[in-house]
């Protein structure tokens, strides 16, 4: 048996106001991608996009989406993604842009990458903590990341040198980690 090959794009939805991310759902993201592909590549692109395209996963707290494209034409469809400027859901427009973080052949590799990426984000967040309690919680969350257990040295290296520039809730990230 030969399996049907796909490419999974791990994208991050960037918005100016983080609270608006919660308005998103996967159908809205899929519609935005389809509209952008149709705008950029016309009927041909729309046809390719209708075969095996789907939004596999959406985390509204962190703004992470997994998009599945057929392997044959994923580059063409990907080239339409930078032209998404807003996602419309239930009459509300959310200005945003998609930033592709990783391209993988299976969902599993994407998940591994995402956990590593989220751990990195927690490290960046650490120096921004205001009080000891927050700091403790984030440290606990970092140690909870199980799939890729980081060795202690790497932890010590990044401790204190990295920084997070988004001012989002710490709890969101922790929930994210536990879900994994």
């Amino acid at each position: 048996m030969v399996r049907v090959k796909s490419r999974y794009l791990l994208c991050e939805i960037n918005v100016t106001d983080r609270s608006r991310l919660l308005l998103l759902d996967d159908r809205a993201v899929a519609a935005a991608v389809r509209a952008s592909v149709a705008r950029m590549h016309g009927d041909y692109g729309a046809a390719l996009c209708s075969i095996r395209f789907s939004v596999k996963y959406l985390n509204a707290h962190t703004g992470i989406v997994f998009l599945r494209f057929p392997k044959k034409c994923y580059r063409l469809l990907w080239s339409a993604l930078p032209f998404i400027t807003c996602i419309e859901n239930r009459g509300q427009k959310i200005p945003c842009f998609l930033n592709c973080l990783h391209v993988g052949g299976t969902i599993r590799t994407c998940q591994k990458f995402l956990i590593r990426y989220n751990t990195q984000q927690l490290h960046r967040m650490l120096p921004k903590c205001k009080n000891e309690e927050e700091k403790h919680e984030i440290q606990k969350a970092i140690l909870n990341c199980t799939l890729t257990k980081r060795n202690k040295e790497a932890f010590e290296d990044e401790f204190g040198s990295d920084k997070e520039d988004d001012s989002d809730d710490d709890n969101d990230e922790e929930e994210e980690e536990e879900e994994e």
Partner: protein, 273 residues
Amino acid sequence: MSVFMDLNLVHSPDQSRLQRLVETAAHLGFSTVAINYVFEPTAKKKQIPSPMPIKDLIPELPIVQGRSRPIRVLNRLTVVMSDSSHFRPTAAEYRGFDLLAVQPTTEKLFHAACMICDVDIICISVTEKLPFFFKRAPVNGAIERGVAFEVSYAAAIRDSTRRRYTIANATALMESCRGKNVILSSAAETPLELRGPYDITNLGVLFGLSDGDSKEAVSSTCRSVVLHAETRKTASGIIYTVQVPEAPPCRAPEDTGEAPAAKRAKPGAVIDS
């Protein structure tokens, strides 16, 4: 992983917006950005803008995504040339900028910019239909001199007609330069117009670049542009003069100890002026 650069963030008097731009760029993984001051000699404001020191502009530089170093911010001047007298190579005002770019509007000026002008970047207009063809001879001359061509993509994101112009002009350029010495930059005014480095690489394929060339367009070509700019300021990058602030003599030995060894070794001599 290579080092990504975005050599065009449009300067605006609004400081908080610039700060957010730089923060978003750092979040996306760009390790060097340049703030672009546009100067049009034909416009009413005749003065060349003077660059603001980066320290005043952004008090605390954000850390780049995936690295432990803060982002590097440069200053860049773009002169829109509609007459050959507009670009004055000896002007003292140009010295304050790290990068120098021109945007020629006629074929003659394009030829001059490629062959004679002492610049780092030649901007390709993306908001109008190209008024002239890119001829092989000046383009090859520019590549030989190490001058890069810039295509910016923010206009393409904004609306459909400019997207067509951007793609058309970019493809016309790629035909004559075959993907060498091209940089892709954002020309973003708001943080939402920036795109991630991998997306830009894929966008390059749309502009007619090959896979390898479009990756170079956001990384190594940009690096060579920055190095080219340094050689313009120094004597071929060999001798470099720095202004040493009047320091009390007792602190002098401590200062020399702090200078990174790698930086010391490269320039042949450091001359105080």
